[in-house]
């Protein structure tokens, strides 16, 4: 049945019972823009740190400086969003009182702490000119923490009872990796001189491709075990669907612009803005899909009921 402003519903309305239609799961207490903003900034910082170290190694000083500054700034801003997200922000250091491998948030807190320190040191060294070898070593360290920071967030939201997030555990890390590459490439081609930004442009295009491919599989539930069409439905409909469609167009336009940008700074900046917009829409879309998935008992009951009756 076609609905205004939405795609045709591919899943027939499943019959299911519930307690007066009330949700079974709690609505995630994480809020926008904090949570999706952090997902974006963590990815940006992680991929930018990786890019900076590679630029360093290949003698691209301006690109390295841009990467280091981007990585450090995004790490600080992302941490601020995370702290503001807490119910008791003054207790943020409790995140570091234990290390718990079973908690992706514990693992992520330690990675973010290490990454924040390393990117801060690398950026400070680059800006002040103090101890370049130490700055370079910190940059190499951040190139190791960066890829983890950019992708662990997929595990962070997948390790929940929220069906759309949990069943997306194969797709989300790749989606965030691609989106992070596109974000970091976008920032670098906007701020670094065009003659040094060739790798950033290639990174942006590769990242955009990965982001589009991963988003496509997530939105269609490819590879999800049970009721893929139903569980992925929140990614295609409502506000999340709109955001993810916008993400697709912005990312595709940004990638196309990057391909033709060459050394035109204006085209590079515009393409970078489109890619950044796409990455942000991706994160907000994924976030909102999770809220819908948790609040409608259908997404909890129907797949579980089917599992129970098949005895799987």
């Amino acid at each position: 049945m076609p609905r205004p402003g939405g795609e045709e519903r591919m899943v027939p309305r499943a019959e299911f019972q519930s307690y007066y239609g009330r949700p079974i799961l709690k609505r995630p207490r994480w809020k926008a823009p904090h949570m999706p903003g952090y997902l974006y900034l963590g990815g940006l910082s992680g991929a930018a740190a990786t890019m900076a170290a590679l630029a360093d190694a290949t003698g691209r000083e301006r690109l390295s400086l841009t990467g280091r500054l981007t990585a450090a700034t995004a790490a600080v801003a992302g941490s601020a969003l995370l702290i503001a997200e807490l119910g008791r922000p003054e207790r943020f250091l409790h995140m570091l009182r234990v290390f718990k491998p079973t908690s992706p948030m514990s693992v992520g807190s330690w990675v973010l702490a290490a990454h924040g320190g390393l990117t801060g040191a690398a950026a400070a060294s680059a800006v002040t000119g103090i101890a370049p070898p130490l700055g370079r070593a910190a940059g190499v360290g951040a190139a190791l923490t960066g890829p983890v920071l950019a992708t662990y967030t997929g595990v962070l939201i997948a390790d929940t009872a929220v069906p759309a997030w949990h069943e997306g555990y194969r797709h989300l890390p790749l989606l965030f990796a691609g989106s992070a590459l596109a974000s970091a490439g976008a920032a670098a081609m906007a701020f670094a001189p065009p003659e040094e930004a060739g790798p950033a442009r290639r990174m942006a295009v590769l990242g955009a491709g990965l982001e589009l491919a991963a988003a496509g599989t997530l939105e269609h539930g490819t590879g999800m075990r049970e009721h893929p069409e139903l569980i992925s439905e929140p990614y295609r409909t409502g506000r999340a669907g709109t955001l993810l469609r916008a993400a697709r167009w912005l990312t595709a336009a940004g990638a196309a612009g990057t391909l033709v940008a060459g050394r035109s700074r204006t085209t590079a900046v515009l393409s970078g803005l489109a890619l950044t917009g796409g990455a942000l829409c991706t994160r907000f879309g994924v976030f909102h899909a999770g809220l819908v998935s948790a609040e409608d008992p259908r997404y909890t009951v129907v797949p579980q009921r089917a599992r129970r009756s098949t005895g799987a």
Binding site: P104, R170, L181, G198
Partner: protein
Amino acid sequence: MNHRLHGPLTDVAEDAGYADPPERAGFFTDTSVCIGCKACEVACKEWNAIPDDGFALTGMSYDNTGALGASTWRHVAFVEQSKPREVDDGAGSSRWLMASDVCKHCTHAACLDVCPTGALFRTEFATVVVQQDICNGCAYCVSACPYGVIDRREGDGRAWKCTMCYDRLGDGMEPACAKACPTDSIQYGPLDELRERAKERLGDLHDQGVTEARLYGEDENDGVGGDGAFFLLLDEPEVYGLPPDPVVTTRDLTAMWKWAGGAAAALVGCAAVSFLGRR
């Protein structure tokens, strides 16, 4: 790290590091004798000094509590059904189902697994409790619970849920809700004993022709390794607002990290490839 993330587990407290723990404590809530009086809700509020959770009327039934939450650790569901009963006892074609819901104190508790601060912990009774001086309100547990039990209290900022009256258990007392229940719908005791008692009760009900009676959460082979608080229900779990087949999310944690590792490698690979070439 040898802690099991899913599957049956007979020594839950030992697995958490207790050398010589007491027997695993549990609730058996037999909803077939619940009269919906909500004494459990009141006793829980009183004993644990829980603030109010609003005074709204739901307008859907005699249940004006709605759901478990940060300030509601027992919730009496009230279901009005007009479908024909399987046993015609002259009571007509409608029935009321009442059930006092509570935290399940899972064998494999997702809330505990994902808690980054260690605020949530396993007690010596194998129950799951939040340490309020540690919780920083990150709300990870809220999204991890497959039953939608734990929540963050607005204005307070921390996560709260049933403690199975941890402060009473240490003194050999039963939890306030079980103490207050006038029909023994809520039974507290060693989990093994409760499981035996529940099987007997289920057999009796089936003998009486109440074929729709079934146990919920008693099976250690289920997705959470069995519940510390389990139920006897008279209809499908979802009718009471319970998930039909919950699975602890951390069951898939290893697979999740593998996919993330692959994605991190892809990120490095794409970045490295981008630096091939001269400009």
